[in-house]
Symmetry: C2
């Protein structure tokens, strides 16, 4: 009995179609085009790739895309001034500052300066607080993507036992909040957890987000469980070269899991799709319009 | 083998002594007296009792206590104006608006108007967000009191299995965040949890905060576990009259637990003690002084 493979690439394409359909309606019925501004400081090659993909995906969804590429020597004050402008710009509904920023800039201060209503990364303290009290928030893209995949695969999550491995602020903790909001019984496990395999073995839903290659093996998994692998780890191949693997030993776990996301091609593609979803959501909330169905937490 | 009774009244007295000692140092060494303002709108008899006790405890700890009793007909605008004044008042380090407020006032709006640095109730969205990302926050008094009792009873909580029953914004969710910060493996259980007794039976630490009289019985408890009962429920006695009971069937659970808080006399007395602790903490943070030891999360 092999696990169902949750095809993140195909599902992300579906989410992007939903976004595009909603954008079309916003343009046609309300004369409004959602806009996303991405700010990049300095010349990190990986960041440049991400920013390019985000811009392309934004335009493909029919939205306005603005890219601000600032010199590595840009002062914190100038960056904050730009964010202030984008906060005031009515054609911009989402603002994303690509991390990391250079050392002379205080990232926390920069994130705190973004209007929470435009904070499509969901990292602003106000959004963490809103999510943490079950209110409408902008939700971080990666856990939102995991939630969408889980709902698509399982329907209602109510009453299921979920174990989140990892307690980071960008994945583990918001993931736990989202699963709790969907009425799972949620356990957060981490490096100090005593019997990690035993804890994970209770779960109907496992979300692994720790950054340890192939850590989760088949003995950790209750037969039939749904396994979402957020890890993206580059490891060396025996024959030379490198490859990407998740936190889950895919081949092994696929033998007992009910459903599983591969790496690559699982959670990864969902992240940009959810960034687009968040931008549309932010736009609709700003204008007091109905939120896009199937694109929010 | 009977459980250790965790005497909340005695421990609260100890916490209040710690607060008082720290206040004395602040006054003598820095010429600063922490100040707490409590705002009460309308004439709820229970609220008046609470406000009086808070004022008395504040003064007994050597701090400045200010009470604002406003007429039930006070407008939201006037209440917000008062909060603005208190935010600006340098002799006031903590502000507490006693809930509930009359129906014509939006409680969320009022809580959001309090300077997060003076939010000694820890209900402001910013404080929820700070706690939710492991940063320094003002922490709600009841879960802070539970944490203090657990640390006092157990020492380091790292690696312990904790189960929080109940997912309210004022107890369950912040409690889970605090236990996670202390490196417990944390599970949040609630009304949708499928096998609640089975889930609770895993726990080294149980915190019950659901408001269902005597719900937790001895079969739910792993022998030796520490049980914190946040519930305060008034039930009718067979012989007539009423009495207070917790969410835990005390007599029954005390037979198997390692330690347990009674109701009354457990968590209850800790709440005001933690309000005083939060006021001192807020004062020290405001002035950039060392935080009081043993009084923070």
């Amino acid at each position: 009995m092999a696990a169902t493979v949750i095809d993140g690439k195909a599902f992300a394409a579906k989410v992007r179609e939903r976004v595009k359909a909603h954008v079309t309606r916003l343009v046609e019925e309300h004369g409004v085009m959602p806009g996303l501004a991405v700010v990049l400081v300095g010349e990190n090659p990986a960041s440049e790739v991400y920013v390019r993909s985000k811009g392309k995906a934004t335009r493909e969804a029919g939205m306005k895309s603005v890219e601000h590429k600032l010199d590595a020597a840009t002062s914190e004050a100038d960056l904050l001034a730009l964010i202030g402008e984008l906060n005031r710009d009515e054609t911009i509904h989402g603002i994303l500052v690509q991390l990391p920023v250079p050392d002379h800039i205080d990232a926390d201060k920069v994130l705190a300066a973004i209007d929470p209503a435009k904070d499509v990364d969901g990292f602003h303290i106000s959004n963490v607080g809103l999510l943490g009290t079950g209110q409408k928030a902008m939700v971080p893209c990666t856990p939102l993507g995991c939630l969408m995949m889980l709902r698509e695969e399982l329907g209602s999550l109510s009453g299921m036992e979920a174990v989140v491995i990892g307690r980071s602020n960008i994945v583990g903790k918001p993931m736990a909040q989202l699963l709790l909001k969907d009425s799972c019984t949620v356990t957060i496990a981490h490096s100090r957890t005593r019997d990690l395999p035993g804890v994970v073995r209770r779960a109907d839903i496992v979300v692994a987000a720790v950054g340890r290659p192939n850590m989760v093996t088949s003995e950790w998994i209750k037969p039939g469980a749904t396994v979402i692998d957020v890890g993206i780890n580059r490891i060396e191949k025996p024959e030379g070269g490198t490859r990407l693997v998740g936190d889950v030993d895919y081949e092994d776990v696929a033998k007992v899991a009910g459903a599983i996301t591969p790496v690559p091609g699982g959670v990864g593609p969902m992240t940009i799709a959810c960034l687009l979803a968040n931008t549309v959501t932010a736009c609709c909330r700003k204008l007091g319009l109905a939120e896009p169905e199937g694109l929010t937490a």
